[in-house]
C-alpha cells in the first residue's frame, strides 16, 4: 500500500503536466468544437451549435482541398524520405574517406528550427535574389517562380521537407542496419540469393519495425506541418500549399473562428490516427494474421 502511494507521488508531477498540457486542452477544444464562437461576430458570445461545425466541414471546399494537399504532401515527402534515408544509411554502412565528417554534415538540417529552414529556403527561392531561380534561368533557361506556379511551389515544399527530415530517417535506419546480425546475410549468400533477393527477403523484413517507426513519425509530422511552409510560401500560390495545419491556423487566429477551428483540429487528429491505424493494419497486422500458427 505504502509503495503504491510513493509510486503515485513520483508520478504526480508527470500526470499533472500531462493533464494541464494534454488532457485539459483536448477536452477544452472538444467542448468548443460544439459551439459557434467568433469574437468578432455580431454576437461574440459562445452559442451552442451541436454538430453544426462538423457538418460545415464536410462542405468546406477549402478544408477538403487543404486535406487533399496535405495527404499528397505527406505521401510524396515520406516515401521520398524513406527511400533516400535507406540509400544514405546503406552508404554510411560502408567505409569511405571522411565518412564521419559527411555523416555529421548530413545530420545538420535536423538541428535547424523549422521556421529557420523555411526562411532559408525562401531566401534561396525568391526571384531576383535567390540562387535557385537565378541558376535555373541562367543554365537551363527555366523560369522558377514558386510564388506563381502551383506545381513548383508544391514540389519545393516537398523537397524542403525531404532536405530537413531525411537525416532522421537515415539515422533511424542506420541504427537498425548496424544492429542486424550477420548470420542471415551469410546464410542467404550460401543459399545463392542475389542482391535483390537478399534485400527483399532478408534486409527489408528485418528493417520493417524501423521503417514503420520512421513512417509513423514522419507522417504525423507531415500532417501538422505549419512553420516551414508558412515561411516559404504562406500557403500559396493560391491554395497550392495551404496544408491543413496552415488552414486551421488561419481559421483560428486571423479569422478568430474558434468553434469551427476546434472542430477542424479534432477531425484532423482523428484522420491522422485513422491513417496510422490503416497503415499499421495494412503493413503489420495483416502480415501477423497470415503467419502460420
Amino acid at each position: 500500500m505504502r509503495s503504491q502511494s510513493v509510486g503515485w507521488l513520483f508520478l504526480a508531477p508527470t500526470l499533472l503536466i500531462l493533464f494541464v498540457f494534454g488532457v485539459w486542452p483536448f477536452v477544452y477544444v472538444t467542448v468548443i468544437s460544439f459551439f459557434h464562437w467568433n469574437s468578432f461576430a455580431a454576437d461574440p458570445t459562445m452559442r451552442f451549435a451541436g454538430l453544426g461545425n462538423y457538418r460545415e466541414l464536410v462542405f468546406d471546399k477549402g478544408f477538403l482541398m487543404a486535406l487533399w494537399n496535405t495527404l499528397k504532401f505527406g505521401v510524396f515527402a515520406v516515401v521520398s524520405q524513406i527511400i533516400l534515408g535507406y540509400l544514405l544509411a546503406q552508404l554510411f554502412m560502408k567505409d569511405f574517406p571522411f565518412k564521419g565528417f559527411f555523416r555529421t554534415i548530413h545530420t545538420l538540417p535536423l538541428m535547424i528550427a523549422p521556421v529557420a529552414v523555411g526562411a532559408t529556403w525562401r531566401l534561396m527561392t525568391v526571384p531576383g535574389l535567390g540562387p535557385i531561380p537565378y541558376y535555373l534561368d541562367k543554365w537551363f533557361g527555366y523560369e522558377f517562380l514558386i510564388s506563381r506556379y502551383v506545381g513548383q511551389a508544391f514540389l519545393t515544399t516537398v523537397v524542403m521537407d525531404i532536405w530537413h527530415w531525411t537525416p532522421l530517417v537515415t539515422l533511424t535506419l542506420l541504427a537498425a542496419l548496424s544492429s542486424m546480425p550477420k548470420e542471415p546475410f551469410e546464410q542467404a549468400q550460401i543459399d545463392g540469393a542475389n542482391r535483390v533477393q537478399t534485400f527483399w527477403y532478408v534486409t527489408l523484413p528485418m528493417l520493417k519495425p524501423a521503417i514503420l517507426s520512421a513512417v509513423f513519425i514522419r507522417l504525423m509530422d507531415a500532417m501538422r506541418t505549419v512553420d516551414e511552409v508558412w515561411m516559404l510560401t504562406g500557403g500559396g500560390p493560391g491554395a497550392a500549399t495551404r496544408y491543413i495545419g496552415l488552414y486551421i491556423w488561419r481559421v483560428v487566429f486571423p479569422k478568430t473562428d474558434y468553434g469551427y477551428g476546434s472542430a477542424m483540429s479534432l477531425i484532423t487528429l482523428y484522420l491522422t490516427i485513422v491513417l496510422c491505424w490503416l497503415l499499421y493494419a495494412g503493413l503489420v497486422a495483416r502480415r501477423d494474421l497470415r503467419k502460420p500458427e
Partner: protein
Amino acid sequence: MSGLKRMMLGAIAAGLMAGVAPAKADFWADAGKDLAGTTIRGVSESTPPSNYVKDVLAPAFTKATGINVEFEATSWDQMYDKAIKDMEANTGIYDFVYIEQDAVYGYLARDFLVDLTKFFEENPKLKAPDYDPANFTTFANYFKGKDGDLFGVPMEAFIKVYLYRKDLFEDPEVKAAFKAKYNRDLAPAKTHAEYTEIADFFTQWGKDKGIELWGTTVQANTGHPSSWYEYVETVAPTFGVYNWGIDAANNYAATVEHGGKMNSPEAKAALEYWLALLKNAPPESTASTWDEVAATFGAGRAAQGLVYGENAAWIATDANKSKVVGKVGVALPPVEPGVMEAAEAGTGYIGYYDGGAFGIPHSSKNKAAAALFLEYIAQPSVQADWAVAGSRITLQGTYDDPKVKAQDAKTDGYYTLMRDQGKLFAGAPPYPFHNQLRETVAPIFYQAITGELSASDALDQMAAASEAELTKLGYRK
C-alpha cells in the same frame, strides 16, 4: 556694452531660461517620479515610423521619465496575432498596442481599448502641457468613438502614392522614344490606359537596354493578404468601387444581385487591369508584400508603382538603402473618368489613407505609464525628425517645420501632396469584421493571380463567399 551689463543681461536670460525650459522638462520628470523603474511593453508592426519610436523616442522617453519601454516591432501578421490574443485573454502583456486604422472598428466593437479622453480627464496630473488632441490632423477622427472620444494616439499617417522614376521620365532619349511610339509626351499617368502604356514601354526599354528594369511594381503576393489589400484599397477605388464593393447600408450586400459592387463590371475591369500589369512587373511581384514593393522600387527595378507613403522618405533620400535617391517623382494614382470628380466632391476616394495609432488595452497593468508614453510621442517637438525619418505626419503643425519642408523638397513634394490632396484618399471602411472577411475571400483572390480563376469568376466567388461569411457572422440578415 559694459562687462557688468553683459553679466546682468546674461543672468536675466539664464533666469528666464531656467524659468521656462525646465517647466517642460520637469513635467516628464515629475510625472515619471512615482513610475520610474516601471517597464511598459508595446507591440507594433515593423515599419519605418515604428522603428523610429523603438530606436529614438522610446529611449528618449526612458531618459526623461525613468520608465522603461520594451518595444516589440514585428511582422504585420504577428503584431495582430499578439495584440488580439493579449487583449482577448486579458493577460496584460502589452501596455500599448498598435491599432491599424482598419482594425480600430473591431477593437472598439470588442471594447478592447481605454478611452483616452476620459482617462486624461480623470487623471489631470498625467496630462502633459504639450499634449493637445486638437493638434492632430483629421486622421485622428478614425480613432474616435461614437461620442467623439479618442481611443488611440495617431503615430503614423500616410497615403499610398504613385511613385515614378523622375530621372527616366525626364531623360531626353526616353522621352523621344516614348513620343515616337505613343505619339504623346511621357508624363505620370492620369488614367489606367496611360499607366499601362508607360508600363509596357519601360518593360520593353529594360529588355532592349539589357537592364533589370520593369514597367511597374505590383503588390501581388499569392499567399499574403497584402495583394488583396492592393486591389480593394488602392486599385478598385480608382475604378469607382469603394468599401471593398460592400454596401453596408444595404444589409452588407456584396453581390450585384443583392445591391453590392464586389463583382460589378467596374470591379471586374479593375481586377483585369491590375492582373494585366503583372506581365510588366518584376518576377518578385507575386512574392511581394508592401515591404517588398518598396524594396523593388528602391532597388531601381521598376519605373513606376503604387507605394505606401511611409517608404517615400527612405526611397527618395536614404542612399544606404535606396538606389534611386534624388530620382523619385510623386503623383496621384491614375483613375477612371469621373472618379477624381467624385473624390473631390467627397462622394468617393482615389486611394488608401493608411496609418495607425497606439492605444492602451484595458488589460494593461501600467496604464498611467503607457499614457505618459503616448503623450510623449504626440509632442509637437518630436514630430519633425520623426516625419523626416518615416514620411508620416499626424500633427497639422508638422507640415510647416523647416526640416519637413526640406525633406519635402527632396521627396518631390510628397508631404505637400499629402497635406493638400490627402482629402482625396480614405481609410478602410468601418467594418468590425475586417480580418474575418479578408481571410474568407483572399484565398479565392490568390487563385485569380495564379490564373487558376479568371478575374470575373474570382470576383463572383468572392462576392458570394463574402455574403455567406457575413451571414455566418451575423452582420447580414
